[in-house]
Amino acid sequence: MKQRLKIILATGLLLMAGIFTAAQAADLVVWHAYRGAEKTAFEKVAKLYEIKKGIKVTTLAIPYDAYADKITASVPRGKGPDVFIYAQDRLGGWIESGKTVEPIGFYIDDATMKQFLPGMMDAMTYKGTVYGLPINYKSITLIYNKALVKTPPKTSAELVKLAKSLTNADSGRYGLAYWYTNFYFHAALMNAFGGKVFDKDGKLVLNSPQTIASIKQMMKWYKTDGIMPTEPSETLVSSMFNEGKAAIVFNGPWFIGEISPSVNFGLAVLPTIDEAGGKPMRPWLTIEGAYVSASSGQKESAYDFAKFLTSEEAGLILSLEGRQLHTNSAIYKDKRVMNDVVLKAFHDQLNSAEPMPNRAEMTMVWSPVTTAMNKVVKGNATPEVALKEATGTIQDSITALRKGR
């Protein structure tokens, strides 16, 4: 009896071991957080790779809320995917905590480097080392209601003039609406004035005359010109635009799906700012990259798949079917892409845009700066005082994090 039990146990163990090794050997496991059309297009690309290279690619869609934590928890412990896709904002944190993202600078060749749109590789580079290949980008741009705006404004003076004529605060109509108290949206103005969050060494340089000037510019639009609603939020902006109460909004590609079919909208590049010497508004770019997992057992093939995702062939599928703004510059020569109003408009905006910092410290910036912006908007503090206070809080958090050993 005991003997038989032992045999059963042993065969069971052998079988299990066999299954595990077989599953590990050939398949590439890829994690992403796509849904809907993006997911379908992504899976199509994976299938295409499988047909071309004969390596099976298993894609797994993870709910976005749980995604980053799942990577943080599993990859450093030797589990998880071979390739995963995420925006650059978590990259710095993963690199600093280690054993998560594999550096790929050694694999990357010049031809691959050159195929990308400008600025894309910067988001994938942390302290001079390349950690990922950029796949797609997002930024905000100017979206207007064609029924109210004939020609979109090119400069801030034109914007204010147009918006004033379309504003009627009593009936809740405004010429311009965007989430101006949110630092992500405000960054477009800040960058126009040349403000920065970190210098190249990672020192916090947010409290600068340029940033203050950009907040004052925002206050001018809100208070002096009175062309924007109070207490903006994502839902407020979209409901106002859909009801025809906001003529112009600054928003990103995610907003397009929220526009009601009754609104005939157009897209244009964000205006230049006369007060900043005619410099254009430069929104932040969020760039999604494909990263090779540090615990992958087949890093070379993982890199090869990531590289395939950035190719022209994959790019066309991802942008035309998945509605993504792909990073490969070659696809913007394709007629089908250039005839697509939305894809073309965001590609145009790319000429004046810059990648959002990928440092981990960035998460400490959002909340204090947003608090400061709210204070300024509500008249509880001057831009100088509010920003000084915010940078103090941020600097404290950063110092606590970068503790010496």
């Binding site: 600078g105 998460t363 709210n374 958090s397 503790k403």
Partner: protein, 642 residues
Amino acid sequence: MNLAEHLKRSAVLGLGFSMLLSLVLGTWMFRAEENDLRLQQRQRLAVLRANALVLAVADTDAAATRSRVQEMQELNPQIESVIIVAGTQLLASTRAEDGAPRALKREEKPLYDLSNLIRTARETNRGEEVVRKKTVQIEETTRGHLVVTLPYLSGGEYAGILQMKFNTAGADTLGDKADSIALPLWMLLAALLAGTFLRLHPEKKIDLSKLIAIGVFLLIALLYQQQRIERLEQIEVQDNQSVAADYLALAQQYDRLGILSLARDPASVNRWDTDQYQRPLGLIGADGRISTEGQARQFAKRAGLFKPILWAINLLTAAVLLMFIYGYAARGYAAFRKNIDAYIYVAPAMIGMLVLVFFPFAYGIALSFTDTTLYNESLPFQDRLIGFENFRHILGDFNVYQHTPDGISWNYQNFYWTLMVTVMWTVTNVTIGVSVGFLLAMALNTDGLRGKAVYRVLLILPWAIPNYITALVWRGMFHPQFGVINQVLQMFGMEPVAWFDGVFSAFFTGVATNGWLSFPFMMVVILGALQSIPKDMYEAAEVEGASRWQRLRFITLPLLKPTLIPAIVLSVVWTFNMFNIIFLVSGGEPGGANEILVTKAYKIAFENYQYAYAAAYSTVIFMILLVYGFFQTRITKATESF
């Protein structure tokens, strides 16, 4: 007297058990410390040479570097091989088969990555003006064989990495391990012997034999630990001596051959003997002399780490001893024998609890004694230990308010402010929940009320809807310009309120939302209790001429108490940690003033990445609730009714 009876009376089991535990734990800890010291010693010897190599080739060109490295490796057979990597190039190698210089091969990617890692570490330390990244990487492949990688500098600038393979065979100063087993065995024997002669009286509180048992235990345990500490100190001194001798021999040899000059000035710093951040350790001078202050400092630092562990061991084992000599162990064992089936049945649940509840809990508490952040979580645990520093920082910061020309300005980031808000939040919400729930339950309990079922379903509805959605709906309703509440206010000619701007109005938004969410639970609980009160009590009271109020005061309330108290205790704990409402409705606005303790802990952990500080915060929250629960049950004797 049989053996069992004898064992019950003598102290042999107690002393033996606790002594064994103390010795095993102590030996285990000291063994770990000793191994760590030995590893450190091997690493120092390796880093010493690696630093010397880098210093020797700092100002030479590629060809000279190659020959210099070759020369130094041949001088010192313990250095097995040296390679220098610059970018994607293998610049130099002492192994002929490597064929340096050449480009790195595909399988040599780790070298390229390592070189980037070290460059980044150097740049980060300089750029942030804080030393937090190791610029020297050490790996022990097999015991005694170390691979040391450190920055290769050319003209003071980073130019690549130098990797040295080093064999430290025979470097151990104290190799014998025999007495580390024999001594504790003798001590255990002594304890057992003492135990057999002591007669115990478990029923007495204090007697001579108990005192002697405790005395013997402490004497042996402390003696042993003292002996071990002295041994550690001795190893440390010998290590320093051998490193110093090694350094001096090497330095003199290099000096003689003109590779590197030996600094004879005693004041200059030894740049060979460094830590992994390339900071001089300060234990050995440039002239090879050992610094006694440095040595004392080094040992005090080590003792600071292991002394608390020793204390924990002593407390634990003393508790075991007390358990035995007061008879708890015997009684516990008897109970276990008697109810063994019951223990087997609950075992799966116990294991589940252990893995899912107690382990994370213990991990959180352990974490709160470190300074773990996102940036240093990969360091070994003992390097991150800082003791009670986090708690001191949280509880010892009384900077709650400041006097400014405009009056008092509150510091919303302070713990005590947040605690006050949390307490106010809890008290207000529970009061609202209980009173509204009570009123509605009384109304629903009216005899002959028509449509009772419909009312009940409607009133439970707020509870049935996910609170995530409710919170977002309320947040929308409080919108200053477009929210329904301000619209209604304006309809009646009032000024709209900017709800999230003021501390009190933002607090109110949370209370309103949570009040809406919390009354159904209380209502259901109270309704159930009301229906279980026998009707004849009221009838009897009515016959006696009791008024409505008297009936409520003397029948309803006392009979509700056993149900209400546990419900309130539960509700207090829930509300105290009501994360969703605060996070989703006001988000702690304005400026973090309305943050409660849990939302604050969340922000510290996931926005500021100070994991350990957040763990300490959570531990404090737990302690507060523990104390609260303890007193609550004490005062109300709520447990009696179960």
